[in-house]
Amino acid sequence: MSLLRVENLSKSFGGVTAVADLSFTIEPGAIYSIIGPNGAGKTTVINLISGIFRPSSGRIFFEDQDVTGLPPYELAGRGLSRIFQNLQVFANMTALENVMVGYHLHCDRRFLPALLRLPHIVRGDAACRDFAAELMASVGLGDYVHAEASMLPYGALKRLEIARALATRPKMLLLDEPAAGLNPAETDAIDGLIKGIAESGVTVLLVEHDMRLVMGISDRILVLDHGRWLASGTAQEVRRNPEVVAAYLGGDARER
C-alpha cells in the first residue's frame, strides 16, 4: 500500500498552468523531496496535496483512498499535516498554545462540555499542555514554552510550525522550505530534526531550495520543471541525470 499517490494532477490559475499532468507515489517511511527551479510549481503541489487548492484535474489518494478536493481539516483528520513557507503562526497566542492547537483533533471538541468546563475538559487540557510542552522541548523549543508566539525569533518560528504540525500526530508531514531564511548552523539542526521525524515513523515530503540538505537526507527525489515531471530517483540518479543537470542543477550541484 502506498501512503500517497498522485495521478495526472494539474492546476492552472486563470490560464497559467502551474502543475501539469503530474503523477508520483510515496511509500510510507521515506523522506521524499521535490526540487526544481523557481516557479517549477513545488509549493503548488504542496498546496494541492494539503487541500489548500483544489486541483483542476487529476486525483490524489491517501492510503489508497480518494481524497481529491477534501478540505484541509479533513485531510488533517486522516493524518496529513504541513508547515508553511511563509509562516502562518497564530501570533495572537503563546507558543505553547500554538502547539496545543495542533493537538485539537485529539481533544474533546464539543461546545457544551467546554462551556460548562466539565472535569474531563480540565484533565484533557492539562494532558494537552504537557504533551505540547514535551513536543516543544523535543524540537528544541524548551526555552520558549511560555513566550508569546509573536516574540519568537525567525528560526524558532520555523520549529514552532514543525512542532504544531507534529502535534496533529500526522502519518505524513509536508515541509515547505523548512530551511528558507536560516543560517548554515540552523539548517544543519533542521536536517537532524527532519531525520528524527522520519525515524519516528512519519513520512516526510520535503520541498527545499538548499541542495545540500535535500541531497543529504532524501530517499527519493522528484524534479519538477515548469510544473511538469522532469526526473525522479535517488539523489545519485537525479544528480547524474543529464536533463536535470541541464535544466536546473548545472555545474554548481556537481561540485557539491
Binding site: 481539516y73 488533517a76 502562518q88 497564530f90 492547537v101 485539537h104 471538541r109 461546545f111 462551556l115
Partner: protein, 314 residues
C-alpha cells in the same frame, strides 16, 4: 492547575465582589437603572467579544438580534399569553435558528466585506421591525408585560439588579470556560490564521458559525430581559447605531478580553448618562469621546492598563 488563584478565578471573584458591593453606592432608582442597563449591555458584549475579539469576525448588526429577542418576548407574552420564560427561550431559539441560517454565507466574507454584510443584515432587521406595524407597533413601539418566573415576579430595582448581576456573572463564567478549552483555542486560531487552523484539523466554518450563533443568542436573551425590565420596546433598540455602540463597547474595553467587554459596556453606558447634562451638546460630545478613545486607546482599556501595570512593575 497551580494553586487556587488563577487569573480567571481571580477575575471572577473580583467581578462578583463588584456586583455584590455596588448596591452600597447606588443611591436612587436612576443609579440602579444605569447599573442594570450596564449589566444587560455587558451580557451582549461578552458574547460579541467571543465573536469579534476571539474569533476575529466583525459584526455590525448584533443590535438586530437584541431587538429580535426583545420583540419575541414582547409579542409572545403580550399578544399570545406565553409565560415570559417560555417566550424568552422561544425568542432565543428563533434567533439561534435565524443566525445559524445567516451565519454560513455571511461568515464566508472577510474584513470590510463582513462588516458590510452584517451591517446590511442588521439594518434589514430594523426596517422589518419598523414596518411590520401590526406585529410590532411600528416606530411607536409596544408595551411589554412584567417578567414572571414560576409565580415569582421580580419587582423593584434591587431584585432586577440581582437578577441581571447573577446572569452577567454566569455569562462571564461560561465565556471564560469556553475560551480556556479546545473550542476557545480553535476560535483564536481562526483569528490568527484561518489557513493554518484548517491544516490543524479545525473546521473553521463550523466554529465561526457556532460562535456567531452563541453571540446572537446571548444578545437575544439580554434583549428579552431588557424588554421586560423596561416594560416597553421600540425599533430604536435594533438600529444600526445601537450595533455600533455594542461593537465600540467591545473594542474600547479591549478585544479578546472578557472583563474588558464588561468594562467597555460600563463606560459606554455611563458616558451618555453623564453627557445628558450637556443637553444640546450631547451628540457632539459623544462623537468626540468615541473618536478620541479609539485614536488614543487603540488596544482597548483593559489591555492598555494591563500593559502599563506590567511596565510599572519592571
Amino acid at each position: 492547575m497551580s494553586g487556587l488563584w488563577t487569573p480567571r478565578r481571580g477575575g471572577l471573584i473580583a467581578l462578583a465582589s463588584v456586583i455584590a458591593v455596588l448596591p452600597l453606592f447606588l443611591q436612587n432608582a436612576f443609579h440602579y437603572d444605569v447599573a442594570i442597563l450596564i449589566g444587560l449591555n455587558a451580557i451582549v458584549c461578552v458574547g460579541l467579544n467571543l465573536l469579534i475579539g476571539y474569533a476575529g469576525q466583525i459584526s455590525l448588526g448584533h443590535a438586530g438580534f437584541f431587538a429580535l429577542g426583545a420583540y419575541a418576548s414582547a409579542i409572545l407574552t403580550g399578544e399570545h399569553d406565553w409565560p415570559p420564560l417560555a417566550a424568552l427561550l422561544g425568542g432565543a431559539l428563533g434567533v439561534g435558528l435565524l443566525s445559524f441560517v445567516i451565519a454560513r454565507p455571511i461568515l464566508k466574507l472577510k474584513g470590510h466585506y463582513l462588516a458590510m454584510g452584517t451591517l446590511g443584515m442588521g439594518i434589514i432587521i430594523s426596517i422589518v421591525l419598523n414596518q411590520e406595524v401590526e406585529l410590532t407597533g411600528g416606530p411607536d413601539g409596544m408595551p411589554v408585560p412584567s417578567f414572571v418566573l414560576f409565580g415569582w415576579k421580580p419587582a423593584g430595582e434591587l431584585t432586577w439588579y440581582a437578577l441581571v448581576g447573577g446572569l452577567l456573572l454566569a455569562t462571564v463564567w461560561l465565556a471564560l470556560n469556553l475560551i480556556d478549552s479546545p473550542v476557545g483555542r480553535a476560535l483564536r486560531a481562526v483569528h490568527g490564521s484561518e489557513t493554518a487552523a484548517e491544516v490543524m484539523g479545525i473546521d473553521t466554518t463550523r466554529y465561526k458559525v457556532q460562535v456567531f450563533v452563541v453571540s446572537a443568542v446571548l444578545a437575544s436573551l439580554s434583549g428579552s430581559l431588557f424588554a421586560h425590565y423596561a416594560g416597553f420596546i421600540s425599533p430604536a433598540e435594533g438600529e444600526f447605531f445601537r450595533s455600533i455602540e455594542l461593537v465600540t463597547m467591545v473594542v474600547l474595553g479591549g478585544m479578546a478580553s472578557t472583563f474588558g467587554a464588561v468594562v467597555g459596556a460600563a463606560i459606554l453606558t455611563l458616558v451618555p448618562q453623564l453627557l445628558a447634562a450637556f443637553h444640546d451638546y450631547e451628540m457632539l460630545l459623544f462623537g468626540a469621546v468615541l473618536m478620541g478613545m479609539m485614536i488614543f486607546l487603540r488596544k482597548g482599556l483593559v489591555p492598555s492598563l494591563a500593559q502599563l501595570l506590567r511596565e510599572r512593575r519592571k
